[in-house]
Assembly symmetry: C2
Homo-oligomer: 281 residues x 2
């Protein structure tokens, strides 16, 4: 099978001002790589989970490098579901999940990356960002929260920031959970029709939906401008939840596999300790 | 079946200076309640996971009350394994796990509860403490890190602290993972014989082991003195990992079930929003 990373990655050199569909490369309902049925994806998820588990333990034990998984997407695109089903495959002790909400007053007084730096994963951890610093070139742009020169300058700031993280040993995986407006409508209706899902519904979601095209344009430009070899963006077809979960779990697996984390060399004499344990009362 | 909470709980009114075995009530290899075989426990874990999942979501959605699970026990007693297998049953987004290490210099300059307060779970979350403020009446006592009058005064400070948490809506579950020295020896040897487990071994573990009886005495007194109706201690037979995982997951389930978390009432008009979504392009 082709590497999921190669297939889902935003093409290097794609024109950032091209039509969003061109930047994204595949459609929300596509299966450009991997399983084409829910049952096959479910089977793979089990073995992926076992492999992820071992790799994550070595990453944690090594305690040097770490992973940062960035999840972005329109409302209902499944950021929470991805955390539950894909990230839920690894030991929760090795996960550091952070949800970015509307910035507080205190956060707004600082540079936009200030709160992001505070939420970075510790060495050995897999950090997950549910929304991220990319909101500052998305909603900030669509809602004209800051002038164009401000959000436009952030592309470079983000690139420099991410390169700094990579230089410090972080592997960055950025996923755009790509859905159609039709699928969003279905999911919003489902949230309203099921009382136990009401809490997930926010009337403001419709305001963002009203700016659908503007968001797609903002996403396309942000992805094209900030998808680098060191911190690539992946477009995750997300109209099918099972495909989305499968794809993100595979990206985690491929990334960890390539990092090839190794257990640290013991800083004690193993044989001597074995003798000590056996001699101890 | 009897409630796991009733069976595993440290008996109210037990003499804190009684022999540790009397305070603990059951032995590390016992099955005082629930399944007596690994396969039965595994079956129950699946349905427990499904029920926990629903309850945890409602707790999270409600965003008011929370849970604090405290895990204490000798080295190799399985604090990490419990987090992985019992806490791993719930959505990782609803978990807030904190491992307490040897206090830093900065932490030592503050009251012993200072660092604990900073690690408390947010509303709606299930917080898990891998070690806790109880170290300050355990290792602090056994290693004479502070004078007796200091650690002895902490029992009251801890009780007041926990009552404050409970008054603020936290449900506290404190688990002592009870193992035999024979089982610890086996597990230490296993860590040394398997290279991928070396990282879990610490030569200092043997120093604590050399003080086994002093630790049992310190645990027994701490449990007896701080097990209150509002913040009870449970003694988890932990020589069998599957029993330990089952017992802790049941305690979580019973606690959440009793909290009976409910989804918040929508602060919007559901029918009106449904009409808006259906009318939106």
């Amino acid at each position: 099978m082709a590497k999921v990373r190669d297939v889902l990655r935003v093409r290097p050199g794609v024109d950032p001002t091209a039509k969003p569909a061109k930047v994204f490369g595949h459609k929300p309902g596509d299966f450009p790589v991997g399983p084409e049925s829910k049952s096959n994806a479910a089977k793979q998820l089990v073995s992926t989970g076992e492999r992820l588990d071992k790799l994550q333990e070595a990453l944690f034990a090594g305690g040097r490098r770490n992973v940062l998984l960035v999840l972005q997407g329109m409302d209902t695109s499944g950021k929470g579901g991805t955390i539950r089903h894909a990230c839920g495959l690894v030991n929760p002790q090795g996960l550091q999940i952070h949800s970015f909400k509307k910035p507080t007053r205190a956060e707004l007084r600082h540079d936009f990356l200030w709160r992001v730096r505070k939420a970075l994963p510790a060495p050995g951890m897999i950090g997950v960002f549910d929304r991220s610093h990319y909101e500052d070139v998305l909603i900030a742009r669509v809602n004209s929260i800051v002038p164009e020169e401000t959000w436009r300058a952030r592309y470079e700031a983000i690139e420099a920031f991410e390169q700094e993280l990579v230089a410090n040993g972080t592997a960055i995986i950025k996923c755009f959970l790509h859905i159609t407006p039709e699928e969003q409508r279905k999911r919003l209706i489902a949230r309203l029709e099921r009382p136990e899902k009401h809490w997930k519904y926010n009337p403001a979601d419709l305001d963002a939906r009203a700016h659908w095209d503007a968001y797609q344009t903002a996403y396309a430009e942000a992805l094209a401008r900030t998808s680098t070899d060191l911190a690539p963006w992946y477009v995750i077809p997300s109209d099918h939840k099972w495909y989305r979960n499968w794809a993100v779990s595979e990206l985690l697996l491929e990334t960890l596999h390539e990092m090839n984390p190794s257990y640290p060399t013991p800083d004690f004499d193993v044989e001597a300790e074995l003798a000590r344990v056996k001699a101890a009362t």
